[in-house]
């Protein structure tokens, strides 16, 4: 069972590496979105500083959402998903492994690059830590919830929109808590409360989402 999970993670990382870009695409998208704003809005430092946590979190959320479409689609089209369903390990384990691989490719790099973006927006140095921390705890939740949506919309007409329509309401609490933590910290109020809520969300999502994903995959492959 563990062997299967490790194998799925390894495979997905290998594929992402082969398609080279795929590792970078989420990252690049994140950087691009975050950098476009100053171009569209103008360069007033105070304005930028006050919108920074929101912009950075929205960019992270979008970049995570965009790579969801391909999370199961390629495996569905070429029959690999059928094989996973007929595999030796329970589908929930495979589902968790795939969500984890998605996070490694689409979530973790954002955490690493976030301080750089914070620098662009001239966020105070003390805030880098809390920004990175909020992303570290929040992005796995995005991957897990997103995978549920991706599994539900597999092979459907209008998969793309449907996916955003389904996933977005689920993402909003994460966004509010994540951006809220940074804003609170910026206002000198700590932000630990929001981080705790994020942590609780992560625990809940990690416990239940894999089974929801598995159920959704079974329904979609019927």
């Amino acid at each position: 069972m563990l062997a299967a999970a490790r194998c799925v993670v390894y495979r997905d990382l290998l594929l992402a590496l082969r398609r080279r870009g795929d590792v970078a695409v989420a990252l690049l998208f994140f950087v691009i979105v975050a950098s476009l704003f100053p171009l569209g809005i103008g360069a007033e430092p105070n304005l930028l500083r006050s919108i920074a946590p929101g912009v950075i979190w929205v960019a992270a959320l979008l970049s995570s959402m965009l790579s969801l479409g391909r999370l199961f689609a390629a495996d569905y089209d070429d029959g690999t998903l059928e094989q996973m369903l007929l595999g030796a390990a329970p589908l929930g384990v495979v589902a968790a492994a795939k969500a984890f691989a998605h996070w490694l490719v689409a979530g973790l790099p954002l955490v690493a690059i976030a301080p750089l973006i914070a620098l662009q927006y001239d966020l105070g140095a003390g805030l880098w830590g809390i920004l990175a921390l909020s992303l570290l705890v929040g992005t796995p939740v995005l991957s897990l919830l997103g995978a549920v949506g991706a599994a539900l919309t597999l092979g459907l007409r209008g998969g793309g929109v449907l996916l955003s329509l389904l996933v977005l309401p689920l993402y909003v609490p994460v966004l509010i808590m994540g951006a809220g933590a940074v804003e609170m910290a910026a206002a000198g109020l700590g932000g630990g409360g929001q981080l705790l809520v994020l942590g609780a969300m992560l625990v809940l999502a990690a416990a239940f989402a894999p089974w929801a994903i598995a159920a959704a995959l079974r329904i979609s492959l019927e």
């Binding site: 495979r11 390629a74 070429d78 029959g79 690999t80 094989q83």
Partner: protein, 201 residues
């Protein structure tokens, strides 16, 4: 070993087959034949549990497969129309990953020799192979699945050249001799006698 009892399958509002029953013992071949769109693929998917029949049930050693789940999955290999092969990975990577997922232990050497058996280069990404070679990359899994009793193969001979057909034929006969059971569909004459034929209308 495998038993289909009173199966009925409906797709897109049309009944494909009804009251279909058969038993397949160790060492037996079943060839499913029929015109395009007659329901061969659907039958195979029902047999491996990917599709729920609208009536009847499939049993493996007496127990309904719906209840067995992973246990049943470990007893079978299903190769469908879709090759389940990643274009960006090499044939070797594809094969060893497929084996791990299926719970079949396969050493590196075993993988290499299975590929050699199908005359496949092992270090070229599959997307750079020809149509027939891609098909071979999927079929190579069979060479490592000797220990898995039930093989369900959807048009395994498609896209293969004469020599490939021969090799695959030898592999299938070998499996049946060792007591495996095989269900396959084909439009081409496989060139060897199936124990039984099931004709779908």
């Amino acid at each position: 070993m495998l038993e289909a009892a009173d199966l009925r399958c409906e797709r897109g509002g049309r009944v494909l087959f009804e009251r279909l029953s058969f038993r397949l013992g160790a060492g037996e071949f079943l060839r499913v034949s029929g015109a395009n769109g007659s329901g061969k693929t659907s039958l195979l998917r029902v047999l491996c549990g990917l599709l729920t029949p609208s009536r009847g049930s499939v049993r493996w050693k007496g127990e309904p497969v719906a209840a067995l789940r992973e246990e049943y999955a470990r007893q079978l290999v299903y190769l469908g129309h879709a090759p389940a092969v990643k274009g960006d990975l090499t044939a070797e990577e594809n094969l060893s990953i497929a084996c791990t997922l299926a719970g079949v232990a396969a050493s590196r050497d075993a993988v290499k020799s299975a590929l050699a058996r199908f005359a496949l280069p092992d270090d070229v990404p599959v997307r750079r192979l020809s149509q027939g070679q891609r098909r071979r990359a999927a079929l190579a899994r069979l060479a490592l699945s000797g220990g898995v009793p039930l093989w369900l193969l959807d048009e395994p001979f498609a896209a293969l050249d004469a020599e490939g057909i021969e090799r695959l034929g030898a592999l299938l006969s070998g499996h049946a001799e060792k007591g495996g059971a095989i269900v396959f569909t084909t439009h081409q004459d496989p060139g060897f006698a199936a124990t039984r034929t099931l004709e779908l209308a």
